[in-house]
């Protein structure tokens, strides 16, 4: 039969959903234990929320699903949410801006067109956002929270890369490009073409050396940043203050024993970052990332409130989950009706209800198919003196039972 699924969309089958829920559960538990509260934003948002300067890059904007709604005669376009952070910042601005501090988390799907149709056009994210708060501490908090989620999911060999949007912006400024050229260069960098930065020679050889050093070297502790600070004393004030910010964060991470790599190129796609940026890599894929975006809320005409956050890319994390240890989602007990007679149906439904009330999972079957993977199977014939036959599939034992109470007792005793 022809596959009727929309191009670029994905189905999540029962076993996918088990892994999906496992990620969601771990994520939710971790967030709650750090004091974050769950929110959910609508699938449709206005396009202008995302066209505001400094939110999405033109190349991302050209891939959003935008259209006119049924009442779109005013020309106001809506989009299928292309990003998780911007709607949550909008939610905060609209509803919670009176709060000095808000820790929010979400599990959501995002939509972006992908030309070949081989990659997903609908993807899932687990994200957390921190609005307000003092400098430095929230940055460290979200990195540690993301790390904890990844650790509890049992994913190994995950690399953490750190960068800083302020450093990149300061370097771009030093190149003294025209506004048009600077915008183009920013686009190239956000699309991952960092070599463009080395090709664009500045008039100041020290800047070229600084760019070469930052692109070529990958430090593993705050010492690296101290070295940069000492080796390039003539760097601009903007560069130095961003460097201080990153030094502050890395020092805390060093003391907490959190390992990372400093890679200036670890910023991708989003234009709204203003401070630290980070991404998690495993098996060659980016499985999550985040950073500081202090201008986002003000850009939405909200108050001047700092913010930072991260998201885990569920589709990639799912591929890396260690094999399932827990139950496969099938019921523990199968209640089988011997035939489709009304009194047998009634008995089966009543028995299954009693089993569920007692905390067991019970599935019904009237097809006579061969059962598999159940702990117990109860065959209901309805004929006295023993209307039930109970099979213990683990011990491979079979016994007759006279009443539902007897079945409940045996099953509960295990």
């Amino acid at each position: 039969m022809k596959n009727q699924k929309c191009k670029g969309m994905q189905d999540l089958l029962p076993e996918d959903m088990l892994r999906f829920r496992r990620i969601e559960d771990v994520f939710r538990t971790c967030c709650c234990s750090w004091g974050y509260q769950e929110v959910r934003t609508p699938t449709l948002e206005y396009l202008h929320l995302f066209t505001a300067t400094g939110t999405l890059t033109p190349s991302m904007l050209s891939k959003v699903y935008s259209f006119l709604d049924w009442d779109g005669w005013s020309g106001e376009r809506v989009v299928l949410r292309p990003d998780g952070t911007i709607p949550v910042a909008r939610l905060y601005t609209d509803n919670l801006s009176g709060q000095e501090l808000a820790r929010l988390f979400y599990v959501t799907n995002i939509f972006a067109f992908e030309g070949t149709g081989k990659e997903n056009r609908e993807r899932w994210q687990c994200g957390a956002e921190f609005f307000g708060g003092a400098e430095l501490a929230p940055d460290v908090e979200i990195i540690l929270l993301a790390e904890e989620v990844i650790r509890r999911l049992g994913i190994r060999n995950v690399g953490l890369q750190l960068s800083h949007a302020g450093l990149v912006k300061a370097l771009l400024k030093e190149l003294k490009l025209s506004p048009g050229e600077e915008a183009k260069m920013t686009n190239r960098l956000l699309e991952g073409n960092w070599q463009a930065l080395t090709k664009s020679k500045s008039t100041n050889p020290e800047i070229d050396r600084l760019i070469a050093a930052l692109l070529g070297l990958k430090g593993k502790s705050s010492s690296f940043l101290y070295n940069i600070k000492a080796a390039f004393p003539k760097a601009s004030q903007d560069f130095k203050s961003s460097l201080e910010d990153l030094i502050g964060i890395t020092k805390v991470l060093d003391n907490l024993g959190c390992s990372y790599k400093i890679d200036i190129a670890a910023i991708h796609g989003f234009e709204y970052y203003t401070g630290i940026c980070f991404q998690f890599l495993a098996a060659g894929e980016k499985i999550g990332g985040g950073g500081r975006y202090d201008n986002l809320v003000p850009l939405m005409d909200g108050e001047d409130i700092p913010a930072c956050g991260f998201a885990l890319y569920v589709d990639y994390v799912m591929k890396l989950l260690p094999p399932e240890k827990e139950k496969k989602g099938e019921a523990e007990i199968l209640v089988k009706g011997k035939e489709l007679a009304p009194e047998i149906l009634e008995t089966c439904f009543t028995l299954a209800e009693s089993l569920r009330d007692a905390g067991h999972t019970a599935e019904l079957d009237f097809t006579g198919r061969k059962e598999s993977n159940y702990r117990w199977v109860v065959l209901v014939s309805g004929k006295a003196p023993s209307p039930f036959m109970l099979t213990d599939c683990t011990r491979r034992r079979r016994r007759d039972a006279a009443s539902m109470a007897e079945i409940l007792k045996v099953v509960s005793e295990g």
Binding site: T51, A52, T53, P58, S62, W70, D71, G72, W73, G75
Partner: protein
Amino acid sequence: MKDYRAGYIKLALPKGRFLSPTASVLADIGLGFNDYSDKTKQYRLRSTRFPNLSAKILQEKDISIQVAVGNYDLGICGLDWIEEFLVKYPAGSLVKISSLNYGEGSIHVVASAESGIANLNDLSDGRNDYRIVTEYPNLAEAFALNLRMRRFRIFPVWGAAEAYPPENADLAVLWGKSGADIATQGLIPLKRLLPVTAFLIANKESLENKDLSRILTCFSSRITAEPPTSMGNGLDISEELKVSRPLWQAKEINLALPDGHQQAPASQFLKRAGLALQGYSEESASRRPSADLDWLGIKVIRPQDMPLQVANSNFDLAITGEDWLREHLYRFPSSPVKKLFALGFGAVKIVTAVSQEMPVADIDELRSLVQSGKFAPLKVASEYINIADGYLRDNHINPYKLIPTWGASEAFLPEDADMLIDNVQTGKTLTQHKLKVIDVLFRSSACLIANKNSLASSDRREKMEFLTQKLRAGLR
């Protein structure tokens, strides 16, 4: 799977602005078609030289889409319509082969002289909500996104984009011969997006699998070094450019009048109603005619564009067709536009028609035929895509595919579409093209439409009533 062995090659040729130059180029390179001239009434043409080559004359806007979907192997049309398609569907099956080096003017982004916009930086820095009017909504959107305009709304129009600024739009993306030519229309050219030259295009799959070499060889003498076709960066705004500002003043009540076929009967109607207008007759046509009522502003635009413009309060009243009002309301059910009364001219029927060969007499038989799988999906060509969509859904025709057209839907049948939904006056054209009507959707004629909020406004009510009463007097 297509059969590539048969060797039939289909070429889509343009109507309108590129017809004459294309016909002479084709004759020059030995690819002439007998009936390809301004006077032809034919849509289908056969090559005088290659028995396996056939061509069809289509609206330019349709050619890039038709080549991309594979109904034609090759096509010739303006670069503007090709880019309008490619900017939205870059992964599609359309391949640009070469410029044919004829054509005129460019597509420009222009600003109204009144808007206070002098260059592109004003747009990206501004926090305003810019209204962009254009026949090229995809190019306009790409332009606005690339420029990181914070907030903008795009109003697609069927034509006359230059008539909208300053009061009804801040920016327009439109064709202009040159920057100087645009300036004479009271507009400031901000950026030249692309030159409008004729281009040879091909369907990707045809190019990969089919032998088109004999035809392509004919073009080889025309395929030379390409002129720059990408979106240039240079602003062609020069110091000397003198922008002539049209005399314009905000009016209390604004009325839109139709151009094209509807203009002559509308003009006669207004004369009968006793509304004296200057600049709305065949002898002196202006985009802004004037009336002897000093509070009334009048503009001449396409009837297709009026309902959306009235909904957005750019006009309080407009004379358009009931067909276009319905088309608008099918798309935007909550739109604040309503019909006041029919004006008694421009009567047409909106019909569904199929090839005379198709063994169906009505829509019920067609439904059965589609259900049997013979014409599944049913390909329906229409310039009223929302009416067509609603009609097909209401009649449980399933599955179907809509092919939007820009008029002359009959040219699509039977090769490129199975059914059309279009307007007819007498039905003669349909018979000439061996088509038959199987259903009448509704009858439409010119009508007066109004913005509901204007009707309810205490400031305007009196003058609105005065004007509608005056127009009512024109009814015979």
